[in-house]
């Protein structure tokens, strides 16, 4: 099963997948309500708002209040979807999420766009690379990072239909659509994109496409790659990791996030406890980003296709 089957004819931003997903979820369940902190256009909420104006709450530039209002809306049976940029929806309001949502186990969906370096020119104030770490540490919290437009649409509906606090992370740039709109999507269940025997690559978000492109190069070099899209960081599909690495004997992780606190760290923990094997991590290494185009930033901060290739070659040499 070669990675060459993954191609694309169209690019779209993952946030538009969110916009489609919340609209369909809103059609299916009248308890779904949305909140936004002055970023309707960026979050692609127009369609939801047009169809369900009474179920949309504009909170202004006041994210802490938004999280509290969302928690309150669950008391009365609503399913609130609180939206903003990932920086403002996690780090800025960590204590509100911790107490009013996670500890109180409220059915709030925190759905955030513009995560990571690929938001681009706005620079490091907005390029949060720590959000997954913060959210995965919270008890009761589910953390999902889908890889393209189609999967973000599916993931949006899945987190809304899952009871309990959820964090859904997506982004700004136009990105290849390479998964199928009809794929099976299950929170907590890894998506094996290709089976292989030499190395396991575990990626999420925008880095799944980078890893697929790297995998094609590696296949041309005769390396058999098992590619896993780990769209759910928590609960983590530990069985899928152990099953794959038992076969391949080494792993590379790839994510648009700090190495500290990210997907790679979660995978390393599973392996350290169960199956110690060589691991390399493609991630931002204890650094803030800066202004630039998404591609320039991915290159500069070690998240390029070539960086994944180099990491695989390195981990293979450590087997």
């Amino acid at each position: 099963m070669s990675l060459k089957k993954y191609t694309f004819t169209e690019k779209k931003d993952t946030r538009s997948g969110f916009g489609e997903g919340i609209f369909e979820a809103g059609q299916e369940n009248e308890n779904v309500v949305a909140l936004c902190a002055d970023l309707i256009g960026s979050l692609k909420l127009d369609k939801f708002i047009d169809h369900f104006p009474e179920r949309f709450f504009q909170v202004g530039i006041a994210e802490a209040n938004m999280i509290g209002i969302a928690a309150g809306l669950t008391i009365g049976g609503k399913i609130p979807v609180a939206t903003t940029f990932a920086n403002f929806g996690t780090g800025r309001v960590y204590d509100q999420i911790r107490q009013s949502v996670a500890y109180s186990d409220k059915n709030v969906k925190i759905c955030c766009s513009h995560a990571g370096l690929t938001l681009g020119e706005d620079g490091a104030t907005h390029q949060i690379l720590e959000d997954v770490g913060m959210m995965k540490m919270l008890p009761n919290m589910t953390v999902v990072v889908p890889c393209d437009f189609n999967q973000t649409k599916l993931a949006t509906k899945a987190v809304i239909n899952r009871h309990g606090p959820c964090y859904l992370r997506f982004g700004r740039p136009s990105w290849p659509i390479f998964t199928d709109a009809n794929d099976h999507f299950e929170i907590g269940k890894a998506q094996v994109m290709s089976e292989g025997t030499d190395v396991t690559i575990i990626a999420n978000g925008h880095m799944v496409w980078q890893a697929i492109e790297a995998g094609k190069i590696l296949e041309d070099k005769g390396i058999s790659v098992e590619m896993i899209n780990m769209h759910t960081i928590k609960p983590l599909d530990e069985a899928a990791i152990i099953r794959s690495v038992t076969k391949t004997g080494c792993v590379v992780t790839a994510e648009e996030h700090q190495r500290n606190g990210g997907l790679g760290e979660s995978v390393a923990g599973v392996l350290a406890r169960n199956l110690p094997k060589p691991i390399e991590m493609v991630a931002v290494n204890d650094s803030f980003g800066e202004s630039g185009t998404p591609t320039e930033l991915l290159d500069k901060y070690g998240l390029s296709i070539q960086d994944v290739v180099i990491a695989v070659e390195k981990v293979l040499s450590r087997k």
């Binding site: 909170v59 309150g72 049976g77 107490q99 186990d105």
Partner: protein
């Protein structure tokens, strides 16, 4: 419940104050000062004012819902909930102990009936109350949302986000009350970080502002009736409730000293001697 007269409520309040002293004394921790100051308000709310069911339901549909934002005064809430029949009175003896449903600050994780959200980290309750009030409107539920915050707590900026939001969005099914005792941990609110003219602040944000003596049942009933009569008119309502921290226990009144300190054996006895055991200690 609505048949209770003021004398009945005063007896309940005396017992609740005994419960508060005994609870914090037993674990040598907790917050008696604000609890004692707000005792009359809680007794009035739960035995007279709120339309609620003791058959607890998290969603609170078809009943009034109360949120406590200043969660550290949990002793008074726990005592009143127990005395009102939400859970067994003897469970008050587990306050702040391992494996208890009565956490130091209110929480939902252990499933204590009457608690709908955790509070303790200050400044979050008004936002939650706004959300619950919106849910009531969406559900076409005519019942009201009540919330209590501290006055020192209003130093947290999130409150002012909620205050702005509630007025702009005409959340007129919300009656917020501020425990306006001018005390906080480090001293008087007016010394630590003055709220200045709090009533004028709320008014300028677009709220209906009422004043009340929170240690006078007559005034509580009268003011809460006025507050209810002002709901549904396009404005959120706030009651600035003057209370005396430590009310009912002479040595705890008049300063901020007993905000978060438990009495020793001798002072417990001295305090209990000032409070009638009207309903039987737990």
């Amino acid at each position: 419940m609505s048949g209770k007269n003021i004398e009945d409520l005063q007896k309940i309040a005396s017992q609740v104050r005994r419960d508060i002293l005994r609870m914090v004394h037993a674990v040598n921790s907790g917050h008696p000062g604000g609890s004692l100051g707000c005792t009359d308000f809680f007794v009035a709310l739960y035995f007279k004012i709120l339309d609620l069911s003791t058959d607890f339901d998290m969603d609170g549909k078809g009943e009034d819902v109360f949120f406590l934002s200043n969660g550290h005064i949990s002793p008074v809430w726990y005592s009143v909930l127990a005395r009102r029949g939400f859970f067994p009175v003897k469970e008050l003896s587990t306050f702040r102990k391992l494996n208890s449903r009565l956490q130091g600050h209110p929480a939902t994780e252990e499933g204590l009936p009457g608690i709908r959200i955790a509070s303790g980290s200050l400044g979050q309750g008004l936002s939650v109350a706004c959300g619950a009030a919106l849910a009531k409107k969406l559900n076409k539920d005519e019942h009201l949302i009540y919330a209590l915050t501290g006055d020192g707590e209003l130093q947290e900026g999130q409150n002012w986000e909620a205050i702005m939001y509630a007025a702009h969005n005409k959340i007129d099914n919300l009656i917020a009350t501020v425990d306006y005792n001018n005390r906080q941990i480090d001293g008087d609110v007016s010394d630590v970080l003055d709220l200045m003219n709090l009533g004028a602040k709320f008014e300028s944000f677009g709220w209906e502002v009422l004043n009340m003596n929170g240690n006078d049942f007559q005034d509580i009933f009268k003011t809460m009736e006025i507050a209810k009569s002002k709901t549904g008119k396009g404005k959120p309502i706030v009651i600035l409730m003057k209370t005396e921290m430590g009310q009912g226990v002479d040595y705890m009144m008049g300063s901020h000293a007993w905000h978060g300190k438990a009495p020793n054996d001798e002072l417990l006895a001295k305090g209990l001697a000032q409070l009638e055991e009207s309903l039987g200690d737990y």
